[in-house]
């Protein structure tokens, strides 16, 4: 029997009922407009792939910095033509200071061999040189605490003043430079990825706007039979969210593929240079962040178009 109207009585839609309808409808619409949906998903995937690439680079650089930070090292480069007596004098000086005692002498030949092993593809260039360009050096291991002390800085000053010493170089100096590079990589990655993700969100907004225009007549029918705006617009929002999430998952897949490919193709050819850039893939939290980023971009895009249409229809 028909129900009597109860003034002010509004029937709320239960989420379990309508959400399953939203998802079914969204999947169906994505399937119907699969070509345009693919464009949205691809746009999101490319944006997040680029963002993820920067994240991967920064992640591995950070890991390398952390690895190297534990062992502070001082390299004391001698003149290329330093005599054995001069080398012995430097060695004696280092031996007399407790902070500098953990030292290792690297001959010119050893330095060259090390370079060749680190930069295998440049070894041919070095072989063509008339003489060995690498100076002999002392490699001194110090703890980070000592390296930061005032006394150590004083010792370094007097070391630099010794004859036959060309240069005194600290690991932490270039680690600081590397940190700056990481900051730049992060900033560039975030900016480029953010701009691209925004562009992808607008692509999704346009695709959903087109879908809404296609369904205009249907939306009108829905309104006439008593569908609320929530029921009408819900599938479009879910459509954007699904497209964004798919884009995020695709980006992670592509990134992992590219990472594995780079590790197998690039890394063995030159051990040092690429080796430390392709050590580990992104941690689970960052993978989740990429996928969630896609979801948010998709939601934002669909929300934009749905909100715009709502304003037009009002």
């Amino acid at each position: 029997m028909p129900r009597d109207f109860i003034p002010g009585h509004l029937e709320p839609e239960t989420p379990a009922n309508t959400v399953s309808y939203f998802v079914r409808e969204a999947i169906r619409r994505i399937w119907i407009t699969k070509r345009t949906s693919f464009v949205s998903v691809a746009m999101i995937a490319i944006s997040l792939f680029i963002l993820g690439g920067f994240m991967l680079l920064s992640e591995n650089l950070e890991a390398a910095v952390t690895r190297w930070q534990g062992r502070s090292r001082v390299n004391v480069f001698l003149d290329t033509d330093a005599t054995p007596d001069q080398i012995r004098a430097v060695d004696a000086y280092l031996g007399s200071h407790p902070d500098l005692r953990a030292r290792r002498f690297i001959t010119r030949e050893q330095a060259m061999a090390r370079f060749k092993s680190y930069f295998a593809n440049l070894s041919g260039v070095v072989d063509q040189l008339d003489e060995n360009p690498f100076p002999p050096s002392f490699q001194i291991e110090v703890t980070p605490a000592i390296a930061q002390s005032r006394a150590f800085k004083e010792e370094m000053k007097s070391l630099r003043a010794m004859t036959a010493i060309e240069q005194v170089q600290f690991d932490w100096e270039w680690l600081t430079r590397l940190r700056r590079i990481i900051d730049v990589v992060n900033a560039v990655g975030l900016t480029a990825g953010g701009i691209l993700a925004l562009a992808a969100a607008f692509t999704i907004a346009n695709v959903i706007r087109l879908t809404m225009l296609t369904y205009r007549e249907e939306i009108e029918i829905m309104r006439l039979v008593g569908a609320t705006e929530r029921i009408i617009r819900g599938p479009f929002l879910i459509e954007g969210i699904l497209q964004g999430t798919l884009g995020g998952i695709l980006a992670v897949g592509l990134l992992f593929g590219a990472f594995e490919l780079a590790r197998h193709v690039l890394a063995p050819s030159s051990t040092m240079l690429w080796g430390f850039l392709f050590v580990s893939f992104l941690p689970l939290q960052k993978i989740a962040a990429i996928v969630v980023g896609g979801t948010v971009a998709g939601w934002f895009g669909s929300w934009l178009s749905v909100r715009e249409r709502a304003a037009e229809d009002a």
Partner: protein, 236 residues
């Protein structure tokens, strides 16, 4: 149940669809709205569903003044009304079942009940064997009946139909009227718009006549047809 007070609908300065129309339909009535094509019947029905607002006058449906109704209340108001549109307004990409199931989703009926209720309603219009057909696979008469089933599926308080027998042969037209009569027996107030005067005359039900946007005649239900118990027939 439906009350029009001096309702005028103008589209522009030179085009008046309805002029100073006043009538009342009580709860449980079955009433015909007749008149030639272009008389303003469809406009009147659109005003009842609040597809458009009157230029002047007041409309009260089921105790609600449509002029004062907020946009957010509109969906809930429309759920109380079963409307059969002249052009059916079926969603072409959905099957017959899905067209009906969508209404049930809107009405918050659990999905497991959709099939049973859709089947029952389609059985009432003798189309239960077309559950999985798409509207474009059906004849005009069959699409008409799907549109009626969609309007009936919620046992609406008010059932409105715009030319539901248009383009149907007389036998099928009578069948359709019978479906509305059964809905009326179940308690729905029925307003059926038609230009077919022959269809109205045989039934003995109350009718109102529109011509050039004006209410020209009201014919009460004939005494030959006794009013059923509990329902209010006749003029107010």
């Amino acid at each position: 149940m439906i009350h029009f007070y001096h309702v005028t609908k103008k589209f522009d300065r030179y085009s008046t669809a309805l002029h100073d129309v006043t009538f009342h339909i009580e709860k449980g009535e079955f009433i015909f709205l007749t008149g030639p094509s272009g008389a303003g019947k469809s406009t009147l029905l659109k005003l009842i569903l609040r597809q458009m607002r009157p230029s002047e006058g007041q409309i009260v449906v089921n105790g609600r003044n449509l002029n004062a109704m907020r946009r957010s209340q509109l969906p809930y108001f429309r759920r109380e009304i079963g409307m059969v549109f002249q052009d059916f307004k079926l969603i072409e990409r959905m099957t017959v079942f899905e067209n009906l199931s969508f209404i049930l989703t809107v009405l918050n009926v659990p999905p497991k009940e959709h099939k049973r209720r859709a089947y029952q309603t389609l059985r009432a219009v003798n189309l239960h064997h077309k559950l999985n057909s798409y509207p474009l696979q059906l004849s005009g008469g069959e699409q008409q009946r799907v549109a009626i089933a969609r309007a009936l599926i919620n046992d609406p308080l008010v059932l409105i139909a715009d030319e539901p027998t248009g383009n149907l042969d007389p036998e099928l037209a009578q069948e359709i009227v019978q479906i509305f009569a059964e809905a009326n027996l179940r308690g729905s107030t029925v307003l059926l718009a038609t230009h077919d005067r022959d269809l109205v005359q045989g039934t003995g039900r109350r009718s109102i006549v529109l011509e050039h946007g004006q209410l020209t005649e009201e014919r009460p239900a004939t005494p030959a047809r006794p009013p059923r118990e509990g329902a209010v027939f006749g003029m107010r």
